[in-house]
């Protein structure tokens, strides 16, 4: 019920809002929760598992019950929602809905500061002022809509608050962030702040010199029978609603407390004309007891609430002295937990303080200090973890309202022998709700300790302090901005010619070019046929290109590659393979010798950066004496592969002077004057060329190639053509467990020089005869296409687990040249099984296939020279 005057709300600004479709009115300065209470609405969504009626309990982030759906945002505590005109919310029972699309705008900001003060209550304000006056760069962040913290909840907000915020505003290097929750504290004083802004939010990444944790404290509820009844509220929240929002949450109140703090609530209620009975569980009351009595209230010591009545909202409290007191509000305080979350996230240790019956910060691991209530600067507290019911039952003593977990649940856990809070948590799910046990956590530890006769065990906290929308973490890194897309100089041409694309690393590569009405299979077969029978061209610009310069480059390449490059002739090219130190294939590509002291190494599209890093690592850390410099030139060149028996005619027409032997290249000019590097390299077995031009000549050169009636082909055709020749693709036919020998490529492994990984190729494990070898597979039914990844088993093995696996399919295609399907596979001892039939069990059917040599097309190599 709203009082006619008082509070920090703006009565001149009434705001209309709806909850579950019902229209209410609140004021600017309200939270959704205070506006609901002001409108006389106490009950929120029923409890998630038991369906019990529930009401608003708290006034801040610790609220366990009043979760609402706010547009696209699920499960927001109504106590943290700033009321705006037209707000529409739905109450929830434990689960929200993630609605698409989330059109709110989220962004990120990265800042440094000397001092980050978390929490703008009295302690935080004092800290920020002291730091700010020194000239330090200060950020003061608070989750509330205005600075003040607990000072906003007292009857008369002290004038000091206005003075301090006024002075802080004059300090150029001090920034106050409101609606800004510091939710994560990571290594080296790196903190993250979720700032709520109209229509979205901002994620702050802060690197702070020093951090002051003035995060306050959360009040604990009391655990008595039917303590979840609407009308049972935290005493501090009752006071906040009364003083800050001018909302009276009851007319007849029972205040049950284990400490002095609730007396302030009792006095403020009395001043507002509420009947108050204080049930103090301690033997001695607070000094304020006299003032309670003087104001017309009653104080009973050694007395607790042991149960509640109501239908469903509170109509009476049952006291431990046997009396039933009629009331419509039970304000409880079981003590206060310093908000040690960030201190603990930062690696700080906690200490159990017997006087407070709470955890307080012990040692900090990072440059931070806790101040005010967060440091344990609180009134003493006499803990009362559980209050027995007259009937001896524990099944309505709620510990975690959000998980509907009771003392009976905890006792069931400890009764089965669980001792660790972590086990009890997993068994009962206590503390796993959206509030992460802000009201339940320490209480549960107390209940466990009471059950086991021990002291409460330690606990640690992890980010986030409060839930953070994924949309905020993502910020603008969504859709096209999620990851950079790299495109070649020919990309627009591929788009115009309706290529489909595949992602290779960050690159968009033309996959195939379907003509109208063509399926992928049709298009790829057509492109393959063109490459084998006529002439076809592919954009190969994405291949990694590294220029290596220096007098020791030949020696360096000899040490890195499995084969030798020091004696490669200038003007020649050689296919090379790289292994890691474990002898496993890492990458491959053609290396060109451009000059005595200059080589160009090409890499696979996906590994370009990794190979450059690999070269740099060895040059810097192992062989700094070698005079070699590496430069990535991937994006400086456009590369066009021209393939097929008709390719010579096309290239000769474009560059009349070119007459190249296989695996040689020339730096020349095209007939139109464009400088070009043309190489005779083949990844298909056909006569083939690679035309390299500066990237800005890429498109015109490609168009010149296409003008000769050349068929464009994409990566899928490239994969088929190379597989027909048994050429492996690193990362598809290899997976980091495959040596060059396993691939059947002994010829590329030099016996005359050591290279990185050479020693590993003589380890007992790498010379096992039953290693997996790369082989070809021909399904017995030539139309059957094996799925890539299919497991292979012996033909005579029973398909009842465990089934011994022989290997798996790494590549599988339809071949135009072979007129059938085929596959490559890694098979145990595969080269010794040539001619054998293996089975690929595919769930509903078994595909038999014959193991063959991996080179299925033109094994004699007759097509290479056209």
């Amino acid at each position: 019920m709203r009082l006619p005057s008082g509070g920090r709300i703006d009565r001149a600004a009434p705001l209309r809002f709806t909850v579950d479709g019902v229209v209410h009115t609140g004021f600017r300065g309200d939270t959704l929760a205070s506006a609901l209470l002001g409108a006389g609405v106490l009950q929120v969504g029923a409890s998630p598992y038991l369906g019990r009626p529930r009401g608003i309990v708290a006034a801040g982030v610790e609220e366990p019950n009043a979760l609402v759906q706010l547009g696209p945002e699920p499960m927001v505590p109504a106590t943290t929602v700033e009321l705006v005109d037209g707000l529409a919310a739905e109450t929830l029972s434990g689960r929200g809905k993630l609605l698409e699309p989330n059109t709110r705008e989220y962004d990120k900001k990265y800042v440094h500061c000397d001092v980050l003060v978390v929490g703008a209550g009295p302690a935080g304000l004092a800290a920020a002022l002291a730091a700010g006056r020194s000239g330090a760069r200060v950020i003061l962040a608070d989750e509330d809509t205005e600075p003040g913290g607990s000072l906003l909840s007292v009857r008369d907000t002290p004038e000091w608050l206005g003075r301090v915020t006024g002075e802080l505003a004059t300090l150029d290097e001090t920034r106050i962030l409101t609606r800004a929750t510091v939710f994560g504290y990571y290594d080296h004083n790196y903190l993250t702040i979720a700032e709520r802004r109209p229509g979205g939010g901002r994620l702050w990444h802060v690197r702070a010199g020093h951090v002051v944790l003035a995060t306050g404290a959360h009040e604990r509820p009391l655990v008595f029978a039917d303590n979840d009844r609407p009308g049972v509220m935290l005493a501090g929240a009752v006071r906040t609603y009364l003083n800050r929002y001018a909302v009276l949450t009851g007319r007849r109140a029972v205040v049950c407390t284990t400490n002095d703090s609730a007396y302030a609530t009792a006095l403020d209620l009395l001043a507002s004309g509420v009947d108050v009975l204080v049930a103090d569980t301690r033997a001695e009351p607070a000094e304020a007891a006299e003032r309670i009595r003087a104001a017309g209230g009653e104080v009973r010591v050694g007395t607790a609430v042991v149960g509640t009545e109501g239908s469903p909202e509170v109509s009476a409290a049952l006291l431990s002295d046997g009396e039933t007191v009629h009331c419509d509000l039970i304000a409880v305080s079981g003590g206060w937990n310093p908000a040690v979350h960030l201190h603990s996230q930062a690696g700080g240790t906690l200490r159990y303080d017997e006087t407070l019956a709470a955890y307080v910060p012990d040692r900090s691991r990072q440059a931070n200090a806790s101040v005010g209530s967060a440091s344990g600067d609180l009134d003493p507290n006499e803990p009362l973890w559980t209050i027995p019911a007259p009937n001896g039952e524990w099944d309505t003593h709620f510990v975690d309202l959000q998980r509907d977990a009771t003392v009976a649940d905890v006792l069931r856990a400890t009764g089965t022998g669980m001792r660790s809070a972590e086990h009890v948590k997993r068994y009962t799910t206590i503390g796993t709700g959206l509030d992460q046990g802000k009201t339940a956590g320490v209480t549960t530890l107390g209940v466990i300790a009471a059950a086991l006769g021990s002291t409460p065990g330690p606990t640690t906290y992890r980010p986030p302090y409060t839930p953070v929308p994924f949309a905020l973490l993502a910020g603008r890194d969504r859709g096209a901005l999620h990851d950079p897309a790299r495109v070649t100089p020919l990309h627009d041409w591929h788009v115009e010619h309706e290529a489909l694309f595949e992602d290779v690393g960050q690159w968009k590569r033309a996959w195939y070019y379907p003509k109208t009405g063509e399926s992928m299979t049709d298009a790829v077969l057509r492109e393959c046929r063109a490459a084998r029978e006529g002439v076809a061209a592919m954009d190969a610009s994405t291949l990694g290109k590294i220029e290596l310069v220096g007098p020791d480059t030949g020696e360096f390449l000899n040490r890195m590659y499995t084969n030798a490059f020091a004696k490669l002739k200038v003007g020649s090219a050689r296919y090379g393979m790289l292994c890691k130190a474990d002898g496993m294939v890492f990458d491959d590509g053609v290396v060109l010798r451009l000059a005595e002291d200059r080589y160009l190494a090409t890499t696979t599209t996906g590994n370009a950066a990794a190979v450059l890093d690999w070269f740099e690592e060895w040059l810097q850390t192992e062989w700094p004496d070698l005079r070699v410099r590496c430069t990535s030139v991937t994006e400086q060149w456009a590369t066009i592969a021209v393939v097929g028996p008709g390719s010579r005619a096309v290239v000769t027409d474009l560059a009349p002077d070119v007459d190249l032997e296989f695996m040689t290249f020339t730096d020349t000019r095209l007939a139109n004057g464009v400088p070009a590097r043309i190489a005779r390299i083949s990844f298909s077995g056909e006569l083939a060329y690679e035309i390299n031009v500066a990237s800005w000549y890429g498109l015109s050169t490609w168009e010149a190639v296409m003008a000769h009636g050349v068929t464009p082909y994409g990566t899928e055709t490239m994969h088929v053509l190379r597989a027909e020749k048994g050429y492996p693709i690193v990362g598809q036919d290899t997976d980091g467990t495959v040596t060059p020998i396993d691939l059947g490529m002994e010829w590329i492994v030099s016996k005359r020089k050591p290279f990185v990984g050479s020693r590993s190729l003589r380890r007992p494990d790498t010379v096992r005869p039953d290693r997996k070898h790369l082989v070809g597979l021909l399904p017995l039914d030539p139309t059957d296409l094996l799925p890539e990844g299919a497991q292979l088993v012996a033909h005579d093995v029973a398909l009842t687990p465990p089934v011994p696996m022989l290997g798996h399919v790494t590549s599988s295609y339809r071949s135009a040249a072979l007129g059938r399907t085929f596959a490559l596979a890694l098979v145990k001892g595969g080269r010794d099984r040539l001619g054998q039939v293996v089975h690929a069990p595919l769930g509903d059917r078994v595909v038999p296939a014959t193991i063959v040599e991996p080179v299925l097309y033109d094994p004699e190599g007759t097509r290479r020279d056209g």
Binding site: Y186, D187, H188, Y190, H205, R207, G347, R365, A581, D582, D613, E616, E617, Q620, T621, E622, P754, S758, R759, S760, R762, R763, P764
Partner: protein, 82 residues
């Protein structure tokens, strides 16, 4: 997010760096002279201490230089270079 001091560029966020594992494990001058066990030790076995650890980093998104640093694996504190 660690803050790592690149000897050439100064303090930078961890995202700019690549990790190179234990420092001070040189490539054997003559791998062929090693027994299988000694070679396997070089290739596969690294220390994993709780506490002080000398390790390699590379400033991948900066100057691209490799360097060694000593870090406490419990607290993540780096030792100042003398």
């Amino acid at each position: 997010m660690l803050q790592i001091r690149c000897p050439w560029c100064g303090d930078r966020d961890e995202v700019e760096f690549g990790y190179g594992g234990q420092a001070g494990v040189p490539y054997p001058p003559d791998p062929d002279a090693l027994s299988d066990a000694d070679w396997a030790d070089y290739v596969f076995v690294r220390d994993n201490p709780r506490g002080r650890f000398a390790e390699r980093w590379v400033h991948s998104a900066g100057c691209r230089r490799w360097f060694d640093a000593v870090r406490d694996t419990v607290t993540h504190e780096f030792e100042e270079r003398s």
